[in-house]
Symmetry: C2
Subunit: 271 residues, 2 copies
């Protein structure tokens, strides 16, 4: 089911700037057990992303109503919200009178491996890098060719995710997930001032870790350092936390920090 500006339809105007320039942003929300997870956080990030791109953000209450309309009587599904700058004539310049467009799509819950959360997953290193741009870093915008080409690098269904590096060889994130590692006893996640997406689950894990006394640190992580990590895990709004058991030649256990965080997150979700 798709809603475009509140109306159920399958098509959009060819003049929309998301089609021409990727001029917009998106959110991916989990609906699990009949509940939309972290709706307010997603809507907050959407607002701040719109501000970064200079797009007039839609009313969060309107978006909220449409999300609830879309997932009515759904147990488990995925809601994607896309906000575009709207239609415009030729040229990069944003039209002065641009009317942003909102697209909400509901999809089936993805067919993730059943054991991913409990037993962990295998990931690889992508050749495609992330370009650095502090002007866009952190924003979940629609310019995602890097992720598309990175994800096109492998077919092996036993590999569930690929990690991407910046030009200097720091691992930044997965194609669809954020990255955490325990290195020399410290819980780390890549800092995202130059590239990457500030994931909602990343934010929640950082807060939860701080509350658990784990003192998480955001900093650059060289690829070589990740290979000798004690624990590695991935996060996003749909997968929650996936322990990484294998990354290229390196193997990791489902470690204590990962288990402790997963437990704490489950408690929070249950409240």
């Amino acid at each position: 089911m798709i809603l475009v500006d509140g109306v159920e339809q399958q098509v959009i105007e060819v003049t929309d700037r998301a089609l021409h320039y990727g001029d917009g942003l998106f959110e991916t929300l989990a609906v699990a057990g009949g509940r939309v997870r972290h709706l307010e956080r997603h809507l907050r990030r959407l607002q701040s992303g719109c501000a970064r791109l200079g797009i007039a953000a839609p009313d969060p209450e309107l978006l909220s109503r449409e999300v609830l309309q879309l997932c009515h009587q759904q147990q488990d599904s995925v809601i994607k919200i896309i906000i575009t700058r709207g239609s415009g004539g030729r040229g990069y310049r944003p039209p002065a009178n641009a009317a942003p467009r909102r697209i909400l799509m509901r999809s089936e819950w993805p067919a993730y491996p059943a054991t991913a959360q409990t037993e962990g997953v295998r990931v690889r290193l992508c050749r495609m890098r992330l370009g650095c741009n502090p002007g866009l870093a952190g924003v979940k915008h629609l310019n995602r060719l890097e992720q598309v080409l990175a994800r096109a690098e492998w077919d092996d269904p036993s590999i569930v995710e690929g990690l991407m590096r910046d030009a200097d060889g720091h691992v930044v994130e997965g194609t669809m997930s954020n990255l955490f590692a325990v290195l020399d006893g410290v819980l780390l996640t890549p800092e995202l001032s130059l590239c990457g997406v500030r994931g909602i689950m990343r934010e929640i894990v950082l807060e939860t870790a701080a509350r658990c006394g784990l003192a998480p640190v955001e900093r650059k992580i060289p690829t070589e350092a990740l290979l000798r990590a004690d624990e590695v895990f991935l996060t996003n709004s749909l997968i929650g936390v996936w322990p990484v058991r294998r990354f290229e030649s390196a193997e990791f256990p489902v470690g204590d920090v990962t288990r402790r965080l997963m437990g704490a997150l489950e408690e929070t979700a249950g409240v």
Copy 2:
């Protein structure tokens, strides 16, 4: 007028990956005096861009026919060709059975300043930088948020273009044009191995310059170097060559090299 896969229509499926990820590329062609300019070069670049992105390129003869259909009886107009990877389900991974989509749009010739070619133009330096990624450099792909945000930086109608730098402070190109400069007697254009679009007019100018014995060089150009250039000009398929008279605090004449090249290009076009 808009053709989507050969059919006249105003809309496109919401599931198209260009909308979700900017997963595709485009060409902008000039129709001037009833003739489509450099059609074969555009179609060749489109083919090689599709190869870079792993998109099955549409038949160039089919595209060619549709371009001619669209500009039938038009004197001066602009044809934009967009090739998308087509529709797909959730996730970055390109669908195995993706059916690329072609969109052709005809627009009015833009209202460029009448004196731009003869008397030159004023340009500025953008704050928004270009992210570097050798995996995407040169391709006229649909991830254009950097250009959109750069073009949103100024309103002053007396400034027609903004120059963009890479992270290291080299000027690379304008938001919608390529850049040339004469520096210490040498004709230069930024090399584009890490970012930027390999423009058709840039290619033609390079070839024409070589034929005229001007021995053009592709290399990195620091912003400070551009400020002390002897001549500067911009190129793209619609504007041809625009001499730059003013860039921030620096002023330039419409110089001999620029004039010579403009003359040579006109002769070629007239053949």
